[in-house]
Assembly symmetry: C2
Homo-oligomer: 302 residues x 2
């Protein structure tokens, strides 16, 4: 990469895991000239080969240790279940003064997995860029994925202020709106606005599929935009989502219980012909959704 120096925040960045997020970060760094060199590592040889072919990283290494040992910033972009394994492998090979961050959709469990392996002189700043598509793999990334989206950082102990500022600048240069928050709050919020809707999408497709089999009638072909919209996320990476649910157990159970209670209540209103209650709820929900859209617009314009 031949770049102007003004935006450069890190000399060398190592991206571990080259899927949608990893490849989007690499492209974003390149486009916005945020680092001098971008290194990569992926566990699977075919992913490394594909990423090399696509050429959006300066170098892709065959081992974790090679990828990280000269890096100033290491970004874990792997499914959250693999963090502990990765840290066991790399913790003895990290440069003094380097920063580790991650992009996992859960934060409490990730901190538990990573914290104990972080050596003295290295900062770990957990993060979560809330951005995604239903596509995965090294060919799915694009620099604009993060633009005007929120990134939540969850610093968990006495975090080096200068390092935190660098990470905030890093995501901001990628176009994100950055906020800091506690890991617990993060996990409950994400369970609500992301993990639950994903689980619901999987379950909508599965419910339809079961009925098709029962009735021996392939009727989902009649589905209009609505069904396809809500189930879009059911096409997301299965391993990543398995790990998210298993690592956000407590919050998922809390919010699932609340969601199932709500459904039972709605079922009861339908059963007892309580049209007033349904109408009131639908009006409130419509207002609420419009308010959410307004809040997002306001956030984006700030």
């Amino acid at each position: 990469m031949n770049m102007k120096s003004e935006n450069i925040i890190f000399d060398k960045v190592a991206i571990i895991g080259i899927g949608l997020i990893g490849s989007s970060i690499a492209k974003g760094i390149q486009k916005n000239k945020i680092a001098r060199k971008v290194y990569g590592y992926a566990k699977t040889a075919s992913t490394r080969a594909k990423a090399r072919e696509l050429g959006y990283m300066d170098k892709i290494f065959d081992t974790l240790v090679e990828a990280v040992n000269d890096a100033d910033l290491i970004i874990l972009c792997t499914p959250v279940g693999s963090n502990a394994d990765i840290m066991r492998n790399i913790h003895g090979h990290l440069k003094k003064g380097s920063i580790i961050t991650d992009v996992g959709s859960v934060k409490k469990a990730v901190i538990d997995q990573i914290h104990k392996y972080v050596p003295d002189g290295v900062s770990f700043i957990p993060g979560h860029p809330i951005a995604g598509t239903e596509f995965s793999g090294p060919e799915s990334g694009f620099a604009e994925l993060f633009y005007k989206k929120c990134c939540l950082l969850t610093p968990y102990t006495k975090t080096d202020k200068a390092h935190l500022d660098k990470i905030i600048s890093f995501w901001e240069e990628l176009g994100m709106i950055v906020d800091t928050i506690s890991p617990e709050t993060h996990d409950l919020i994400l369970a609500t606005i992301s993990h639950l809707p994903h689980l619901v999408a999987y379950n909508l497709v599965d419910t339809a599929s079961k009925l098709e089999n029962k009735k021996d009638h392939e009727f989902t072909k009649y589905a209009a935009g609505g069904f396809l919209d809500y189930t879009r996320v059911a096409s997301s990476d299965p391993i990543m989502w398995r790990d998210i649910f298993l690592n956000n157990k407590e919050a998922m159970i809390e919010i699932l219980d609340s969601f199932i209670d709500g459904l039972a209540d709605l079922k009861d209103s339908i059963k007892t012909d309580n049209g007033n209650k349904l109408e009131r709820l639908f009006k409130e929900t419509r207002n609420k959704r419009n308010k959410i859209l307004d809040s997002i617009k306001k956030l984006e314009s700030e």
Copy 2:
């Protein structure tokens, strides 16, 4: 309207209810030159005034009877709960040889409401163009709404073959793929691919809203595309949806029970750390969703 005569299927069409569907049909008829005249009626004076101002109908009447008494095709585009009332008002004023159809998202209940009011010499052919957006009102319609979408007709007794063919041609001229099916099957299919997902969307917004109140933290502003996609339909017309749920009670309860069972099963897998089961289900669901997309593409290319 000044139109060529080749596509004309009906002389005069009366559209009862001028919301998203009614206004889209009017515009589609105009664009595709399917009728010589389009008449309209809406219960609310401000809707009539707005539709007159927008000018996509030849005439908008202040009473139901005036709108229908000279029409060859009457299309009920009102919330399904109002059909019986409308039929009580108009059944003595229908022209011999005319056809009534509707666009309701439920068919068994609609047939029960309308059938008994249909006079001799008039055909009633229940229908459901499966197309929509989250917008409502006389200004929300557009001619392309129906393009490459499915329309299910549910003829319920000895239907006049010539009349059925005319209705099939009518929707085809608007761009739809038309299929006939039994009312019972229609209602269960729609409960699965449309009504349940809508109820789920309302409940997702409500669950998030309750948690925001409980935690006194406005966190839905962090929502990414996913949450906004699945909850898009929660902005739909509350009255229309109240009526749909109340009029598709049996199928809704059947499919809600199946959906809640699925969620309880998922919750159990999360609780017991059953990663294999989650991963298997997510992979199956991803494959299934891709198959649905393929079926839809195939249907559209036929």
